[in-house]
Symmetry: C2
Subunit: 116 residues, 2 copies
DNA sequence: GCAGAACATCGATGAATGTCAATATTCGAG
DNA sequence: CTCGAATATTGACATTCATCGATGTTCTGC
């Protein structure tokens, strides 16, 4: 596969004032929408919340597959989406893949939504 | 049509701790995902930002159709989505329809994302 | 090296979604 | 009441997306 082609959340958020200050350009709207789409899914929100509640804000896929009632390939897919969007990072230790929250990523998005 | 069937944002947000505090239930995840989906679109984000930057945080459809480069029916559709999700309200004055930001609606969602 | 476990990728499928053109509705002016 | 302007609704279409089963890949233990 190629290099990291996608939208780090932090970058999309660091540059701009809250969306309620000035009209967004098309490009800004595209970036923010991409970040929001990545978390606008029940399964991905639950994944984030479980990871966040885990020790070190890190969890292995084996801890995430069972409580969501969805298949392992689907969990893997959702984690990939979250990773490419910059909300979590992946690190493999042995056979296990651990996913960790990127500190400040969610906050960056939240800051853009806040009214002034 | 029936009564207000849909998800006021404020309700979805008022009840819960940030999603990084405890694992979300399926129902909580569904609610938050619905709110996020409503704003996870470039056109709708731009609509919100234009409305927010207008006097009284209120704008008429005629002011929204032109700057977005999308057709009037599409603008109308997006405004309906935002209205049903509780981010804006609609009030008709004469032939014109004015859409106004619901104070605190965006902030409610933002609060749920913050890593506190 | 081999078997099994953990995870990722692929291909397919059904559902949801953004957009448009055409049409309907509602309102003010005359 | 009629006409035109502003907005909403409808129906259609192409695209995206969540999910699954099957398969591939990579690591560990023996």
């Amino acid at each position: 596969m190629s290099t990291m082609t996608l939208l780090p959340v932090i970058d999309a958020a660091a540059c701009c004032a809250p969306l309620t200050r000035d009209p967004l350009t098309q490009a800004q709207a595209d970036d923010l929408a991409r970040s929001l789409k990545a978390i606008a899914d029940p399964a991905r929100l639950r994944l984030i919340s479980i990871i966040a509640a885990s020790e070190g804000q890190e969890a292995c896929v084996c801890d995430l597959t069972e409580p969501l009632n969805i298949g392992q390939p689907t969990v893997s897919h959702h984690l990939k989406v979250l990773t490419e969007a910059g909300f979590v990072t992946r690190s493999k230790r042995g056979t296990w893949a651990y996913f960790k929250l990127v500190p400040g990523a969610l906050d960056s998005v939240a800051r853009l939504l806040v009214t002034a």
